[in-house]
Structures are given as C-alpha cells and as structure tokens.
Amino acid sequence: MSFQEVKGQSQVIRLLQNGLLHGKIAHAYCFAGPRGVGKQKTAMELAKALNCEQKGADACDRCRSCLRIEHGNHPDVIRIKPDGASIKIDQVRQLQRAFSFSPGKEVVRVIMIEQADFMTPQAANSLLKFLEEPVSAMVAILITENIHAMLPTVLSRCQILRFSQLPPAILAKKLEEQGIRKDNARILAHLSQGEEEYQLLDQEEFAQLCRRVIEWNQEILSGKSSALVSIQREWLQKQTENERLPLVLDILLLWLRDLVHHHLNKTGKLDVSVFSEWEAAREEQAYRWNRSRLLLGMEAVLRARSQLAGPMQPQAVLEQMVLAMQEGSL
C-alpha cells in the first residue's frame, strides 16, 4: 500500500509527495471531490508517510508506525466521523483537549475529519482558531464531498486539494475491463454513482432498466396521462425498485441529454449517444419536443432527483415531475 495505489489522482499525489520531499506539508488540508475517488485512502497514506520511520515521500508499509496507522491503532492519528447526523462541537472540543498534551517524540499528529461538511456550525467555528494556529506539529485533513457546504472561513485556512472525477471515457474502459458489457459500461460511466454500486446490478437487469426508462419517456413525451399510471405500475411496485429510483431518474436524465444532443448534432461534429444501442428510439423521440422543452424536462428531472433525497413521498415527486415535463413548465 502506498500513494501509488490511489488511481487517477496523479496531480494531488504529486503535490503531496513534493510537499513531503521539500518539507512543505501544510498544517491543514481539505480533500474535496466526489465519492469513490480515493480521498480517504490518500489521507491515510499521507498520515503514514508523515510518521513513517523510513522518512521519505512515501510510506514503507512495514515499520511499526505504518502498521499501527493502517490498523487504526495509532494514538496520534485521529479520525472523526459524524456522530449521528452531524459532527458535534463536543467532538471537536474533545479533540482540542487531546491536543493540549504534547505528542510523542517525532510524531506528527494527524486528524482526519470525514464528511467535514456535516459539521454543525458550532463545531466548524470552533475549529477555526485551532486550524489557523496549531499548538503542536499536526496535519488536519478535512474530507468532504460537498465543498460548498463548508464554511468559507474554514476553507480559507486549508490548502484545498481537488480530487477529480475520472472522465467518462476512461471510466467506461475501466468498467469494461471489469467485465461489464460495452453498452452498459458507457451508460454507467456517465452516471454519478460511486463505482461500488455498479457491481451490484446485474448486467441483464440494467439493460432492462434502461429499456423501461426509455419506454416510459416515450409515454411522457407523447403527453399521454398513462405516463402517470406507469409510475405506480412500473416503478413503485416493488421495494427493490423503490430504492433504485435515483438511478432511474439518472438514466432518464441521461436519455434526455442524448435527445438534446441529437438535436444539436446536425453537423455530426458532436460525439453523442451515451445509449448507443437505442438509435431508433432516439430518432423517434428526439423531435417530439423542441430543444427548450427538452431542457425544461431535464430541469424537472433534476429537481425531482434532489427531492427524492428529502422527506417527500416518491410517488408524489415522480408524478409532479411527469406533469411538469408534460406541461412544459416548472
């Protein structure tokens, strides 16, 4: 295990290793980026490299310190996770109390705050002074998927390292290597879910899901009220389906995007069609609506997608979405 194991983030790794080599590791970092791109792992590797007995730009993975950190037993490498729904001020206070004692010799204390955007405002504010002028050698690593939800005053005290999402083309290739069918891989690579979730789906089932979404969209585009009935019949019948609704909406969004691209692709310049197998259906559906209506439709889907995460009933959300799409308004 070493920095080399973190895939596709060469820039971040280079920055950290340069810092390690030149002794320019900042005392506070914010690792920001989507899920499943290696933020936690990088943080862990940084903690190991900082405390490794073989000083260098990477962890040796053999010394006592590396092993202890790897197993989560190191007393000076602290991980903070949301306690319940948020990270509370008491957790931060506890941390500060621990830091009022001096650390062992030659130890750089590392704090990893996971899902740092879940800090309560009180907790985040109480970190401010602590982050700005640490009392002893330490490195704080704030890990977040949603950098916008962080306090600007906290961010301004950190070096922000952005972990980028792998571009779809590369991701698709990676998925194919894992034995996923080509057409499915292309679609999956464009969805926003973390990679782990891809494996959960059966290949055939996924293709089936796409077909059903496209047929549903056909109903929506034609303005039939049967599209509303489909919500009940198709998507809310089984519990398993229920959990899959965000995925369904993502597919629908991607399909609408394909339709818009089809409109634009008069000159053939654009590399379009995520759904490569559905040429005929795209041809048929694309011109039912004009471009601005398709865009409004996409907006409706996006809104429904974010509402699904809230406390609303999925059926109501979906029905509202279909009606909004058919009305052509928001």
Binding site: N125, S156, C158, P167, D250, R257, R288
Partner: protein, 570 residues
C-alpha cells in the same frame, strides 16, 4: 521529522506592523491617529470577510499599546513585550477563541479576571476572535463589562459575521469594517513574498492566484504555498490553474466563441475536452461567468478593466467582445448565474453545465438573427394600424365598408389573397404543388414543427389549440401544407388573424417567408394517390358561419346586446 518546522506562508507573513496591513488604510490610519493622540477606546469591533487582516490588526494594536517604546502608532516589534505578544506568551494579552469557548461560564470567568490590573505591561488586551459564535447569554453577560471596563483593559472583538452580534454589543464598540483586498494589493504582496524568497514567477500566475483568492489575502497565500509545493522553485501559470482547478482563458474563450456563433455542438465539444482534462464543472461555470463579466465590463467601461487587472485582453477576447452585444452578454450572465446556483446541490454538475451551454447557444435563436425582420414587420403593422385609425377617425361610418387594402410591400396582400380561395380553386392549385414538394423540405418542417407549435403557443394559446390537430404533410420552398383530422380545427386555423400569426411564426422559425395551406387529411391522402379532386370540405365553411351567426343572434335575442360577448375561444 519532515514538515514539522514548516509554517504556512500566511502565518510566516502575518503583518506585524500597521504599514504591512495592505488594503485597509481606512482602518490603520484611524487606529494610528488614535494611538498618536492617545484617544484609545476601550472596545473595538473588527469585522470583514475572511483573510482581510482582522486578527492581525488586533494583535498589532495589542502590541502598539503595550510596546515598551510606546505607546506609538507602530509597535517596534523588538522589545520584550512586542516579541512575547507575537509569540503569544504574554499573560496580559489574552486571545480567546469565542467559537470554542462560547458559553456564559467562560465569559463570567473572563469578567472576574478583568478587574485585576495587568502584571507586566500597561494594558490588558482581550482579543475575542470569532465573536459571532458566543451564545446569547454570553453576549449579555459581556454587556456591562464591555460598556465600562476598568481603565487598564482594551477589548478587541473580531468576526466575519457582524450581523450575528446583538446590536447592544455593536453599539458599545468602535466598529471598523475591513474590506476585501483589492487585486493590485494582493499581487503587490505576492510579489514582495516571491522576491524575498528569490523565486521566479510568471506575471500571469500572480493574476491567476489573485483571481482565485477573491479578496482574501490568506487564500492567496495558501494558494501560493500550494503552487510552490507543487512546482518547486518556480511559479507558473499552468501550475496555479492546475491547483485552483480553473480553466485557461483560452479554453474559456473557445467555449464562448462557440456560444457566440450559436454553435452549441462545438461549444459542447470544447467543454468535453475541458472535462477530460480533469476540470470541474463548478469551476468551469465560475470561469465562464467571470469571462462574461469581463467581456461586459470591457464593452461598457474599458478603462475599468485595465485598472483591476482582470482583463488579459488579447485578440481573441476583443473579437469575442465585438461579436456579442451587451444585451446578449447580460442574458448570458443571467443564465450562467442561475445554473451556478443550482449546481451547488445537484449530483450531476456536468449535465447541468451542458444544459447551460445549450441554453446560451439557443437563447439567441429565439430573438437574434431574425430580430431585424421581426422589428421591421412590427413597424409595418403599426404603420398600417395608424393609417386605419386615421381613416376611421375621418369616416366613422366606414366601419361596415370593406377593409382598406393593405399598402404594397407589406407582404400581407399576397397572404390575404391566398386566404380567400377556399375550395375549388385552392385544390386546383394544390395539384400543381405536388410537383414542387420536396421531401427534404418536409423533413425540415417536421423537425421545426415542435418549435413552431411552441412559439405559436407563446403568442396565442388558442391558436395553438387549433393547430395542434394538424400535421405537416408537404413543404416546398415557400409553402407548408398542413393536414387536419377535424374540420373545425382546420377552419379556425384558416381564419385570417390566426393564419397570419402562424405564417409569421413559421417564417421566423424556418428563416424564409412561407405561406400556410391547410387541407383535410383524407383529402390529402386522395390527392397524394393522384385521384381526381373531390368537392372540398371547405364548402361547409359558409354553412358553419351561418350557424354560428344564428346562435349569436339567438343569444342576443335572449339576453340583450349588452350581455352578450362574442369570443372565438372555446
């Protein structure tokens, strides 16, 4: 151990004198004058955005009042007191993190200790940082002490969010508002730091840092730190862009050029490339917004752009600025800002950005391009209306007379002629058309049909309701044939006003003058099969008219003229 001795640039370069506190002259000047005159207040409130020097100013003030060679406008930074305050080891200068110690108990504790005289220096200075996080009780416990502290105490409250303080606190303090640090000041400071470290740098890299720092000096120094850690002993623009995740100006302008040409496809291609290079959509939309703003600024107030240094105007940018009118730029900014806000909460930032680009490249098609035509047409209509009003004024009786013929050149006279022929004649004409019809033309019209329907709906929703029954079945260079399934829909569509509206919309959408011709679907099928012409359903039109009139008449008989309103709407 590695990294232990390293201190972030913003800590190393924390200002130690008022003179070093750049960009806040309105604050430092006042404070220095007060020190010189000995008009020291007992409570100060420093507020302003992050990284503008609030805490630094508080510490400098603490040193200035306690300096062994003072009190003087500037601390000497050499005497025992100054040094120990910088190190944070002087007992009488207390820096309190109000965000961590926010309860009433901590404030009570403070209040109890305030009354003891300072042990080593002249003044006890309490710096209460992040003061907005105190609880209500704590604030209230502080009030009395803040109003009338012992003579040897100075309170300095610092916060980024003054609106969270109770007004009773604010009114007891001298308040100083720190401003965001200007572009030139940040660049100047960066230069000083780089030169003192003897580091080579690119001028453009400094601009990029200052842009990303957005008025916060600490942000700027953090970025500089990061860039130096990444690039070693040289500061390049590319490194800064990589760290901030910003797109290069060239890439941004290429996207905007696509938008300016209304070529959504090529703009999306550029976008794709940027994303492939690992740029985040959120950053990209921010860069696009900034670029639009710069272009707008360049167009409306060129002298300003040069001053604040944002504008790195080269050939491309100037050409782009020339090709986009101000109205268009503001419209683009609206769209971008709207999507930027949404992007914070969506799981699909990339798709949202693509939507924004498509909108940008599309919005123009609605108005632009055809705008001069539309305006000309409207002017023409206004002129005709005015003429008619004139005539009506002159002869009020003339209402029943046939409408005055349209002035020549308006393009309406021909339409009117074509509207009249109903059955037999129009059919005869249609047969000839069959030769002119082209399948490409039809495909084009079909593609544009949803657009046409949409526009008609915007113009007049009732017309849309009639037209929706129809389906374009044939098209030639200057005509579109629409087949209807139901008679009444066809007839209403044929009404003069409705038809004119539809023709106008079609002309706009297709980009060439087009006339509308309607036909019943079965009839069309027969025509297509080259069968001899049938009596047209158009003949029923007069019958229908009569019937309608009958109904109206009856209604008037029943209810009286005043109560009956004749409307075409169903």
């Amino acid at each position: 151990m590695l990294g232990v001795s390293y201190r972030a640039l913003y800590r190393v370069w924390r200002p130690q004198r008022f003179a070093e506190l750049v960009g806040q002259e309105h604050v430092t000047q006042t404070l220095m004058n007060a020190l010189r005159e000995g008009h020291l207040s007992h409570a100060y409130l420093f507020n302003g955005p992050r990284g503008t020097g609030k805490t630094s100013a508080a510490k400098i003030l603490a040193k200035a009042v306690n300096c062994e060679r003072g009190p003087s406008p500037e601390p000497c930074n050499e005497c025992e007191a100054c040094r120990r305050i910088t190190e944070g080891t002087l007992m009488d200068v207390v820096e309190i993190d109000a965000a961590s110690n926010r309860g009433v108990d901590e404030i009570r504790d403070l209040r109890d200790k305030v009354k003891y005289a300072p042990t080593e220096v002249r003044y006890k200075v309490y710096i209460i940082d992040e003061v907005h996080m105190l609880t209500t009780e704590a604030f209230n416990a502080l009030l009395k002490t803040l109003e009338e502290p012992p003579a040897h105490v100075v309170f300095i409250l610092a916060t980024t969010e003054p609106h969270k303080l109770p007004p009773t606190i604010i009114s007891r303090c001298q308040r100083f508002s720190f401003r965001r640090i200007s572009f030139e000041h940040i660049i100047g400071r960066l230069r000083v730091i780089l030169e003192s470290g003897q580091i080579d740098y690119e001028e453009r890299a400094l601009f990029a840092i200052a842009r990303a720092a957005d008025g916060g000096m600490r942000d700027a120094l953090s970025l500089l730190d990061q860039a130096l850690a990444f690039g070693g002993d040289r500061l390049d623009e590319s490194v800064v862009l990589a760290i901030t995740g910003s797109a290069s100006q060239d890439a941004v302008y290429r996207i905007l050029q696509g938008v300016a040409r209304l070529d959504a496809a090529s703009a999306l291609n550029e976008l794709d490339e940027c994303v492939m290079n690992g740029l985040e959509p959120e950053k990209l939309i921010q860069d696009l917004t900034h670029a639009c703003r710069d272009l707008l600024l360049f167009k409306t107030a060129p002298q300003l752009t040069e001053k604040n240094g944002r504008w790195t105007g080269e050939g491309d940018a100037v050409r782009l600025a020339e090709s986009l009118p101000v109205s268009r730029l503001t419209e683009m900014l609206d769209v971008l800002v709207h999507h930027q806000q949404q992007m914070k909460w969506t799981p699909h930032p990339r798709i949202l950005l693509e939507m924004a680009i498509v909108r940008l490249a599309h919005s123009q098609e609605d108005v632009g391009g055809f705008e001069p035509d539309a305006v000309r047409e409207l002017k023409e209509r206004v002129r005709r209306l005015e003429q008619e009003i004139e005539k009506l004024k002159q002869s009020p009786v003339a209402v029943s007379s046939p409408p005055p013929s349209a002035p020549p050149g308006a393009g309406f006279s021909s339409k009117e002629e074509e509207r009249r022929p109903s059955s037999a004649k129009s059919l005869a004409v249609r047969k000839e058309w069959l030769g002119q019809l082209s399948s490409e033309g039809l495909a084009e019209v079909r593609r544009a049909w949803p657009e046409i329907l949409g526009r008609v709906k915007e113009e007049k929703i009732t017309v849309h309701a009639w037209l929706i029954d129809g389906e374009p079945v044939g098209a030639a260079q200057d005509k579109v044939i629409v087949a209807f399934k139901s008679k009444i829909h066809r007839e209403t569509t044929e009404k003069e006003a409705n038809k004119a509206l539809i023709q106008q919309v079609m002309t706009q959408v297709l980009g060439r003058p087009v006339t509308l011709h309607t036909i019943m679907l079965p009839e069309w099928n027969e025509l297509r099969a080259a069968a001899p012409a049938q009596p047209s359903p158009g003949e029923t039109q007069p019958v229908q008219q009569v019937r309608e009139d009958d109904v109206v008449k009856k209604a008037i008989d029943f209810f009286g003229e005043n109560l009956v309103e004749i409307s075409d709407q169903l």
